[in-house]
Amino acid sequence: MFHLTLHLADDALIIGHRNSEWTGHGPNLEQDIAISNIALDQIGQARNFYQYAAELCNNNREAYTKFISSPAFHQVSGPIDEDDLAYLRDAMEFRNHLLAELKKGDWAVTITRQFFISLYQQLLYTDLQYSADKRLAAIAEKSLKEVNYHVRWSGEWVIRLGDGTEESHRRMETAIDQLWPYVGELFVPADFQLEAAASGLLKNPEYYRQPWLEKTGAAFEQAGLMLPAPNWYQKGGKQGIHTEHLGHLLAEMQYLQRSHPGAQW
């Protein structure tokens, strides 16, 4: 359960951080505010998951934190908190999907990635609301309302860009080609997801592949875009094998906490 919660937290934090990179650089003021608010939602969701992960961790700290090599983490005196989990782990100790950590790219890449992840989260959180674990269920219920909005916002953009100018259509095709190899990982269970499924906490993510493809296909049809054929995929994020992009993101995100431990914002 700790690893599952950490994975949910990492996904939300990393995608939220990527989106926050648009603040002040959006295509226009309104969309700048929209993507910044989405980032705020995601970081808020991450905090809820991290707070729970920290409580679980403190119940069995030795066993749960063995996989963490960062000395800064083990030097924490007193109970672990959400900031320790977010700021004091190294890249290989993060359990987010690779899709979340890829560079923000152009607006088409950001939109397409957001749509892919939000659709997945929508399917997942809808079920997680009824999980046997009441804390995870409550976080999912809270997050789902926000994710529903993220799906609508990014889906409308997918259609607008796909069905827009020749240039926007071409950029969407490039974005889809670039991101597609990272989609497969969403639906291939990691060990902690298999364990969670076995103990009745949530479904094996395999179950979401078909509905996800159907929903994506429906939006792509409206957008005049082609759904690529299923192909080989990149994996490893949930096992801690990340792209170089996560290392760079963490270096920037963790800089303050690492150089001034316990700094307050």
Binding site: I33, N37, Q122, E141, R152, A219
Partner: protein, 162 residues
């Protein structure tokens, strides 16, 4: 004499930092109030997961209750059931209207994931006309959208459904 209804009254002094006419009670984020021996235990729920006002609100609840002699003050945060604009009190909605902000519509249209929905029909808080249009999905804060009235031409914020 100090009872739970006294605490509710005190909490009305705590305002939403983003919409200062609304108290936290009007906003519907106070989920439970308990009187302990000399202190109070307050249960709150966030509006949005990442709402930046929540920390400020929690701090102000502490300060206001401490100012009325409650110690210790414990604040618990719960996420379920998730906050909805339906929990805003009728008084709260009237205060918003008087302040020039259109209160949330009772129907939760914008919370469904359908693409390209018809814009919500929002009543102008100034002249009460329904001939209004959305100028921007975001107003002065994330939880509001910016509208303009086609009849009296006044722009106004609409407190979005959630």
């Amino acid at each position: 004499m100090s009872t739970e209804s006294t605490i509710w009254k005190v909490l009305e002094e705590v305002k939403d930092p983003e919409v200062p006419v609304l108290s936290v009670v009007d906003l519907g984020i106070i989920r439970d109030v308990k009187q302990t021996e000399n202190g109070a235990e307050i249960t709150i729920t966030p509006t949005y997961s990442g709402c930046p006002a929540m920390d400020v609100i929690a701090m102000q609840i502490r300060m206001v209750l401490a100012g009325h002699g409650y110690a210790p003050v414990t604040i618990r945060t719960v996420l379920s059931p998730a906050w909805t604009t339906e929990w805003m009190t009728e008084t709260g909605k009237e205060k918003l209207l008087a302040y020039g902000i259109a209160p949330p519509n009772p129907k939760q249209q914008v919370c469904t994931p359908d693409f390209f929905q018809q814009e919500e029909a929002v009543q102008c808080p100034h002249c009460r006309s329904f001939h209004t249009r959305r100028i921007s999905e975001f107003g002065s804060t994330a939880c509001k959208a910016l509208y303009q009235c086609e009849d009296c031409k006044e722009p106004f914020d609409y407190f979005k459904c959630h």
